[in-house]
Assembly symmetry: C2
Homo-oligomer: 325 residues x 2
């Protein structure tokens, strides 16, 4: 299966949807020319990364969201996919309803080679500060604008494989990858917008690329997954965002990676069978010990150590609502 990460360079705050969609269509056409069956666009691929600002004008905020998908402005992308037989994933800002019941999500959709929506995911790990905080060097107001995703971590059978989607910060947590693998995902598609530097954690600045790749490389190995990660990159509205769009093999190897901070295709032909080889190596159904993992689901954050008695009770009576295989 030939895959592409379609990295995007910066999108201006006042860029029209039409101008952005033209860039997406161009990347999709070029990818199809390379034989790609599936193209991964970044998180929030239709707009600038507006959560860097606290925008008080509700009309401007609403202008970053899509109330229907597809819609007239993005229709050319869907038509191109159907015409070329090349599917894609697209991150965008989704608005559901209006007024008091309105919900807004950081969303990605999977569109199949026929140009039809085959799956939707809404970002679960929405990072950053929930309110403007002048003490912070970097405003990242996603929780101000977005609700937590309410679809869980679904998987979709498409292109003769099983696909999951994650978005940006999700990649830093080990749990989403495992939940996708426990449903048989072989391929995970992820878009991101990540600042190139963290002014509030300056010791991490030199490690940004490693901290981007590391959790994905580990997840690929530990779960037998192919991963395609696609960046919005470059200098966007005064902010520097990292590039590093990449394709990672279940062996943990970064097999292809972007070399610019602009619109760029990263293409690789993946041997999906390699996912099976690593699944076989780890043999989760024989070797995992979920009776010892309960705290992962029972606790949100750090708590007291379990006593020997508490451990013994847990091991005698594992959670096991759904023992599975």
């Amino acid at each position: 299966l030939t895959l592409a990460a379609a990295q995007l360079g910066p999108i201006a705050r006042d860029a029209s949807r039409e101008s952005v969609v033209r860039r997406l269509v161009s990347l999709l056409e070029r990818a199809a020319g390379h034989g790609c069956r599936l193209v991964v666009f970044p998180e929030m691929a239709l707009t600038t990364f507006f959560p860097r600002w606290l925008i008080e004008d509700e009309d401007e905020v609403a202008g970053f969201f899509e109330s229907a998908m597809p819609n007239a402005q993005v229709a050319p992308l869907f038509e191109t996919a159907a015409r070329l037989g090349t599917g894609f994933t697209l991150g965008y800002c989704e608005q559901v309803g209006a007024g008091d019941t309105m919900r807004r999500y950081n969303t990605a959709i999977l569109v199949d080679a026929g140009g039809n929506i085959a799956g939707k995911y809404r970002k679960v790990h929405v990072p950053g500060n929930p309110e403007f905080d002048p003490a912070l060097g970097l405003q990242h107001l996603e929780p101000w604008y977005f609700d937590d995703g309410d679809l869980g971590f679904p998987v979709f059978d498409c292109l003769d494989t099983r696909i999951g989607m994650l978005i940006c910060n999700d990649r830093r947590w080990p749990e989403p990858w495992r939940v996708l693998a426990l449903q048989g995902a072989e391929l995970v598609l992820l878009g991101y917008n990540s600042p190139a530097q963290l002014p509030d954690y300056p010791r991490q600045n030199a490690l940004r690329t490693d901290h981007h790749q590391l959790p994905m490389r580990a997840a690929a190995y530990q779960n037998g997954l192919w991963i395609v990660a696609s960046a919005k990159a470059g200098h966007e509205e005064g902010c520097d965002m990292m590039g590093g769009s990449c394709i990672i093999s279940p062996s943990s190897e970064v097999v292809a990676v972007s070399s610019t901070l602009d619109d760029e295709l990263v293409v690789y032909t993946a041997d999906l069978g390699l996912a099976g080889e690593y699944r076989d190596f780890f043999d989760m159904s024989r070797c995992r010990r979920p009776e010892t993992y309960g705290l992962i689901c029972d606790r949100r954050g750090e708590g007291d150590p379990l006593t020997a008695e508490e451990w013994a009770r847990r091991l005698r009576h594992p959670a096991g609502r759904d023992p599975g295989t």
Copy 2:
């Protein structure tokens, strides 16, 4: 806190406990000379890695196990720890009871700077083949000899920090690290015996060192942990075992690593505060979404995808036996 991984070179099948303990004492003394307060010895540090053979002579098998700890043969190690004020962890084969109720574990103990046992862990993820299988290129008969650990993943307060222990294969799974971090561990000590090559998975051979470090580096970063990993290394009884004993910072960096396949000390002075910096960055109690992680505890291996209805039910009624912080 100055830490050391005390890597061991090979131990012969007929090596006496006394000869091995002399090597351990020598390493402990040298570590104390470097100012170390805590020294990590490998898994099964008192014997050769006998699960590479199917040994039918029960007397020989029993000879690899300890029925009491400390015992007369290892007492010099405990005495040296108390005399120097340097604690250690030691992996060994533990026998409990005899006859029909006998249990055997792959165990590690934490010994404090006073020479007293402060904690015990029994390996949970016991890898390999449960019976001799002539089709395999590598016999790894741990499940033949060992019961699964029955103590969970306990943590221990010692040397003004909170310590967890893991053993060898445990390091490849993301769950044990998270369970330790959710109990406030800052430092995880791990011993291992890992073959240098995997004849049954030859494509992994060139990646062995990366596959050893990667899950630990990711776990250090994702959980804000210092990790000390100590190998039994070198050419032991016809088998090549990897070295690569290392100390890993919560930044994910391998800050010290062994350069031989023999007895060797790897020393580093760790800033335990760095664990807190990464805990703060991830802010688990605010940012984790355990209501979406349930499959990790409910399933052992891969199963059917959850439907949208099943996801909705899970998100409405999270497992939450112990919501914690």
